[in-house]
Every structure is written in C-alpha cells, then in structure tokens.
Symmetry: C2
Subunit: 262 residues, 2 copies
C-alpha cells in the first residue's frame, strides 16, 4: 500500500504598484483559494507596499505571513536568504497547502520573485506553481499622465538609474524613450542632465505613486533641484517632443509630389 504524498501549490502574484486594486481579477480569485499568503516588507519600511496595493479589498481568511525582504547586494547573503525562504515554503507545500506570494508591481520585472522561484525549483523539483503577471510602476505612471510608452517603431529602454551621468546621457541620446527607475539620490544630477539636453519638458516623474506620500511631476519644472528622492521613484524620458500621430502634419511635399496627379 502506497501513501500518496500531499502536494501543495505555489502562486506568485504581481499585485501591481502603489495605486490600490491594480491586481488582476484572475490573481485575486486565485488568492481566495490560498491557505497561506506571504507578503514581503522591506526592512527599511514600517509597512508592506505589496499589502498597500490591495487596500480596500477584503483579504481572504488565510494565514498571513510577513516576509522580511532582503535587499542586500551581497551575493552570498542573497543566496542564503532565498534558499532559507524556499526551504520554509517547501515545508508548507509538503503539507498540501496552497501558498500565495505577493510581489509589488509585475512579478518578473526587476523583481526578486525571480530569485525565489529559482531557489524553490532547485530544492523542490516537483514544484507545482503558477506565476501571475502584474502591472508595472512605469505602466501606472504612463496611464496617470497619458504618456505613450512607445508608438510605431520607437525604441524604449528600461533601466535602473546608472551611477554616472555620461552613461545615462548616451542611453538617452540613442533611444526614443527611457524608463529610468530607482533614481534615489541621483535626482539632482538627472535633472541637471535633462535640462542641459533641453528635454525636461518632455518628461514625467512619479515617486511612490498611489501612496500617501506620492509626488508626481509633468515637465519636471516643479521638482526641487537639490533634493534626493526615495527608492520607488521613476522617470519617463522622451528624447524629442511628442507629436501625436493623429496631429502630424500632412505628408512632406516630396511625397505629395511623387503621387500620381489623378
């Protein structure tokens, strides 16, 4: 007689960025079936941004567990951290529980969820799971300002703000649009660069969009030139002023002339 082993299921969910209730309907339904819901909290913050993104929704009657969030850049520490987290989650899954794991924004876009799912697979190859995508912070910012993130053949670069401004300048000059994330203490330098390039007016900025301390700016003129900003700050940069397609002038003379004169 064989005893069938209980098998749980792991569900990773991108809950969207700050503005509440941007979690998908499908993921929200899935969350109702979880026995345990884990949500990360940065050790530097008093509350979980991921939980904030669910504000106004009645959380399921599942066990809630806060996971302190390791943001170290020390590789050994990260490896140990995700392995230990994976081991503790494996314990829950082996009890046959459905385990939900919330991540801010999208689950795979610059998210540590990727590390976790890798660590889980490594120690538990029979893992049953599903990952739900989420709305990214930059999509939420673009929607807030109705700022198109790419039209026609435009090329869009996503990057965490580099240390040096020459690298950023080169990136701006070789891409139509730049989504600049994690600006933090480099905000004054970034603003100076954009002014020098004469393109501040084409840009928008948002910090902790949807949180009580939200700060947004269209055109950047109202941002203080000498103040650092926090972690959840993103800028959408357009190299050339936006001329909506539907407003473009009629075709250039050359093209018009080459048409048959019916």
């Amino acid at each position: 007689m064989t005893e069938s082993k209980l098998v749980g299921r792991f569900v990773g969910i991108g809950v969207g960025p700050g503005p509440a209730q941007l979690i998908s309907v499908a993921a929200w339904e899935e969350l109702q079936c979880c026995d345990l819901i884990c949500y990360p909290r940065a050790t530097s913050h008093e509350s979980s941004a991921a939980l904030h993104a669910l504000e106004g929704l009645e959380l399921p009657q599942a066990e809630l567990r806060e996971i302190f969030f390791e943001m170290s850049s020390d590789r050994d520490r990260l490896r140990t951290y995700y392995r230990e987290l994976a081991l503790s989650l494996r314990g829950e899954l082996e009890l046959g529980r459905q385990v939900g794991y919330l991540t801010l924004g999208d689950s795979m876009t610059y998210s540590t969820y990727g590390y976790l799912i890798n660590a889980l697979r490594e120690i538990y190859p029979q893992l049953r799971h599903r990952t739900y995508a989420g709305i990214t912070s930059f999509a939420a910012i673009a929607a807030h300002f109705d700022w198109p993130l790419g039209e026609g053949k435009e090329r869009v670069l996503l990057l965490p703000c580099p240390e040096g401004m020459p690298a950023l300048r080169a990136d701006i000059l070789t891409h139509d649009l730049v989504v600049l994330m994690k600006i933090g203490r480099r905000l004054p330098q970034v603003l100076a660069l954009l002014e020098e390039l004469g393109i501040s007016e084409n840009c928008v900025f948002a910090q902790r969009l949807g949180f009580a301390e939200e700060r947004t700016s269209c055109g950047l003129a109202d941002l203080p030139r000498d103040t650092e900003t926090g972690y959840l700050s993103t800028m959408l940069i357009r190299r050339e002023a936006h001329q909506p397609r539907h407003q473009l002038p009629t075709r250039p003379l050359r093209e018009t002339l080459s048409e048959p004169t019916a």
Copy 2:
C-alpha cells in the same frame, strides 16, 4: 438661470493581453458603472482580442459597441480616423454617459489608445477621464516562463522588430535583454540571427498567448525555421545565459582577500 450641461466621463482600460481575466480589479469595478463600452476589433480579425481578454467574466449590462480598428500607417488616414472616433465619443459624453474604452494589453504601451486620448482632448478640452494601466503581453510571457525581465543593473530594450537584421543584431549586442515585438514575417530571419549569435537557448517566444491558437517556445528549438508568424508574437531575448543571483558563485578571490581577516 443657467442650465448645467451634462458631463460624462471617459474611462480607458488596458484589459491585459490574451490570458483571460488579467484586467485589474479596479478597472473591472469601473467598467460596471459604464453606460457604453467600446471595444476595438482589427478589421483583419473575426473577433475582438480585447473582448477575449475578458472571457469568463460577466460583462456589465451596458451598451456594447464594436469599433473597427484602423491600423494604417498613413498619417492622414490615422488623423481622420481618430478625429472621427473622438467626435462620436464626445457626442456620448455630452449626453452625460460614462464611456468605457477597452484596449488590449497596457493602455499606453505601443497602444493606439494614446492617439485617441489626444484626439479627444483636442476637440473636447473639458474631458473628464481616467486611464487604467494593464498587464503587457511581455509581462504575461515572462510570467508564463518565469523568465526574469531585468535583474540588478540590467538594461532592457523594448522594440518592434526592425526590418533589417543588422539593426537587431546591434541592439541585442548592446543590451542585456531585448523584448522583440511584432515579429510577423521576419521570424525566420530572427531565428537565424539568434542561432548565429549562439543565444537561442536563452530566449523564449510566444504568439497569441492565452488564445486558442497560442504557440509558445522555450529555447526556440521547436519553432519551425521557415515559417512566418502573426501579429501578436513576441520574443524575450537574453544576450548571456541566465545565472540566477541566488546561485552565483561566492565572491571572486580578489574581493575575499580584501576583507579584514577578523
């Protein structure tokens, strides 16, 4: 005595890509309050992909209106098209109606919704509206494969597939990750380029993810080398093999040696 004019409200909603019910909870709630829901259908397709993305959800008892979708690259035609669409929607808003407008994926990421909102603002400056962000196709593909879209300082390029492969080669070589959209008839050339670069195994592909005719591939080996693909096809390209952070080797000797030997 002044007669107050009725004022409606316009709600643009990114419904997510193919997989059903990826619309956000907030946008879905908003949709319940609409009097009129417009959804686009490409003239080349028999049904609306945006409606497909709501499959399994009970649509509100609002008036539904199919909008034939202009995909022309002719600027004059686009301008006329969006102006006329905006004029017809203004008519509804002036009757005090709440008008929802569905867009596939995210509302501002390579979306024609941007043209529409510009045209609406132009002819109706007092427009009351809100735009809801959505989940992009590439985030859904990344979640499907658990394929991290950026880690640490990595740079991610989003672009519609260029005509010439030399341009694509240069973009791949200068970015850590490339999200290649709208591949269409260029699939055989793209596959040949990736094979030549020796990086096919680092890539994933999805076409019409979440639709009945979905095709996905991890590593690209199972994709036919000589077949074109349709419009909703996207590839996630990684220049170098992915080494998850939590699995990285311990720090290089140099760093270890420079630490204090406590």
